[in-house]
Amino acid sequence: MIDRYRIFLLFIVVFLFMAIFAPRFFNVFNLTTIMRTMAMNAVVAIGFTIVLICGELDLSIGTIITFSGVVGLGLKEYLGYGGSVPIAILTGCGIGLINGLLVAKAKINSFIVTLGMMTILQGAIYTATGGNSISLSTEDAFAVSDWLSKMILPLITPRVLITIGFIVFFTLFMRRTRMGRNFYMVGGNTQTAWLAGVNTDGYKIVAFIISGFTAALGGVLFAMEGSAATLKLGDTSLMYIVSATIIGGTAMSGGKGGVFRTFIAILMLDVLYNGIILFGLGNEVKIFIAGLILATVVMYEAYAAYKHDKIVGQRAELLKELNTKHGK
């Protein structure tokens, strides 16, 4: 029971703590800041979570973020956002497709594939840009970025709205649709899923494509809002999202977890970091606390499993008998 709602409780605790103690935390402006910070990683985490639910791993999301950002802005002056953004997102899907094919069809471990892909993209990014970040300081570019970052509702900017839109969509998709549930099935037991007539390879590939898609989307939106694409855009995202997903309760073994929990986990971490900055503390504290939380969660789960192993298969009536025996 607690396990199920763990992440939500964690979030409430952190949020209330900050709301009460952190200076200048609890006001529209700052909460909006948090939402806007959350926006990119939250979108990217969707795909990563789905891949993890399929029992695979995607280490290339970080570089996909950067790559799509670069493509999206790099091509703007030739095609305009109308052309460049779709292309950027398609590139993301394409990379995902390649990952997926290598994992599902060539049967190479996803850890290897995506690690290699990470290196390849890293090179591609720098080769494409000659080590030079891309920026647009034209008026229409600024117009777009202003639009993306202006507040339309309390806490909600268009980019945040898009993010939440995708979160809701994928949450429903994974929870309520047959396709969504099949992802869980594939992760839970590929063999069974296949025998039940589920196209397991297909689902894995689709999972990687989704991952590529969301990563690209997150990257390109972020770049558009800043109307610049740096070459380190996604560097920190990977580890950040991995920890968030795990803290959110998605299992590396696959078949467990959910998009919404990951979202809440991301939000939780962002609230935490935001608060830490407000307290005037440095990164060292941030890193330290993030690490502690992650470690605690992992250890907690491991220990629960460890205990479970010890008592699995106990017979109730024997325990009862035991009590009576010791009773007298």
């Binding site: 471990n109 690690l115 290699g116 440095g282 890193i287 992650l294 470690a295």
Partner: protein, 347 residues
């Protein structure tokens, strides 16, 4: 009844026979096949005059020298991968931590400092060992968390400063000794790290192939439960694997710190994935229980050869990455394929 069994086995026989000749070559030569390919490539390029001085003692020495640090770390990482626990992502911070601790402790003299930093390193390893060995925490995530925590510790303790051996050292002798961890050269050719690497390769190979621990680790890596049901103390075996990894990480940390003459939190960054790459190219499967230390050495050398040839060709740093990544996937993929065709990889 006999003949049925006979028959079924002939089935398998043929399956084994029908595996492509390439796979057999690959599985026999293993990673060194690839290494040889690269050597040939280099030689051909040299003959055709595209590059020069490739096949010289000095250049070969450079290659080994350049990868010796990576090799040292990879040796330890190999044990973790071999035990079926993918990778120890806490290696980078372990390197940084031990390095900075050693510099800090130089005030008590060189050897105490080294000993203390090894103790620290093994402590980190010990934490991993308990969590993963006993409680079966997911290795990737757990080591990642440990990486964060110890990084936090370094930065909290040394408040984002970097510290210098010659300022911390009790005596000039101590700091000179420390600088020489990296710089000392036998017949001013063979650098100390290279010697470390060679010794490590021999020792680790012996451990893995010939000792009780090695055999038990192989069994554990191939099938943890089976090992448990064969009377192997899997907790202990896995713990030792992580401790060994921490130990080599410490050695690597000291080396890299001595090289850059400064103790700082960013030393050793990136060595987690670098090491895994080397290990896996070297023919160790993430499934565990497959491959050998010699293979890992081969993987390390391949990386060195690749970089060397590409730089000699004048390929830019960034294009090099692309090639590196592609070759990585290719080699590992082929290795997995050949293993599978022999029913030696349950993928």
């Amino acid at each position: 009844m006999m003949q049925t069994v006979q028959k079924e086995s002939t089935q398998i026989e043929t399956r084994l026979r029908t595996q492509s000749t390439f796979n057999r070559i690959f599985s026999t030569l293993g990673v060194y096949g690839v290494a040889v390919l690269f050597l040939l490539l280099g030689i051909i390029l040299q003959i055709s005059g595209v590059i020069n001085n490739f096949l010289t003692a000095q250049n070969m020495l450079n290659i080994i020298d350049a990868v010796s640090l990576l090799g040292i770390v990879a040796m330890g990482m190999a044990f973790v991968t071999y035990s079926g626990h993918y990778a120890d992502l806490s290696v980078p911070t372990t390197m940084a931590l031990t390095g900075i601790v050693c510099v800090e402790m130089l005030k008590y003299g060189f050897f105490p400092a080294v000993i203390i930093s090894f103790i620290v390193g093994l402590l980190v390893g010990g934490i991993n060992a308990v969590a993963i060995g006993k409680f079966k925490a997911n290795p990737i995530i757990w080591t990642l968390a440990v990486n964060y925590v110890s990084m936090g510790v370094i930065r909290l303790v040394w408040v984002n400063k970097q510290i210098y051996p010659d300022l911390k050292a009790s005596s000039v002798k101590a700091s000179v000794l420390f600088d020489n961890i990296y710089r000392f050269r036998f017949f001013d050719k063979i650098a100390l790290p290279m010697v470390f690497l060679i010794i490590l390769v021999i020792v680790c190979h012996f451990i893995l192939q010939r000792t009780k621990f090695g055999v038990q680790l192989k069994l554990t890596g191939s099938a943890r439960n089976v090992a448990k049901f064969s009377g192997v103390n899997v907790e202990r075996v896995i713990s030792i694997a992580f401790l060994l990894c921490a130990a080599t990480a410490t050695l690597g940390g000291l080396t890299v710190t001595s090289l850059s003459k400064v103790g700082a939190w960013y030393n050793g960054a990136g060595y987690d994935f670098k090491a895994v790459t080397a290990v896996v190219i070297g023919g160790m499967t993430l499934a565990g229980g497959r491959g050998s230390i010699i293979g890992v050495l081969g993987g390390v050398l391949i990386i060195g050869l690749m970089n060397n040839i590409m730089t000699l060709l004048g390929i830019g740093t960034f294009s090099q990455d692309m090639i590196r990544g592609a070759i990585f996937i290719l080699v590992v993929g082929l290795n997995a394929k050949s293993l599978r065709s022999q029913g030696r990889d349950d993928a």
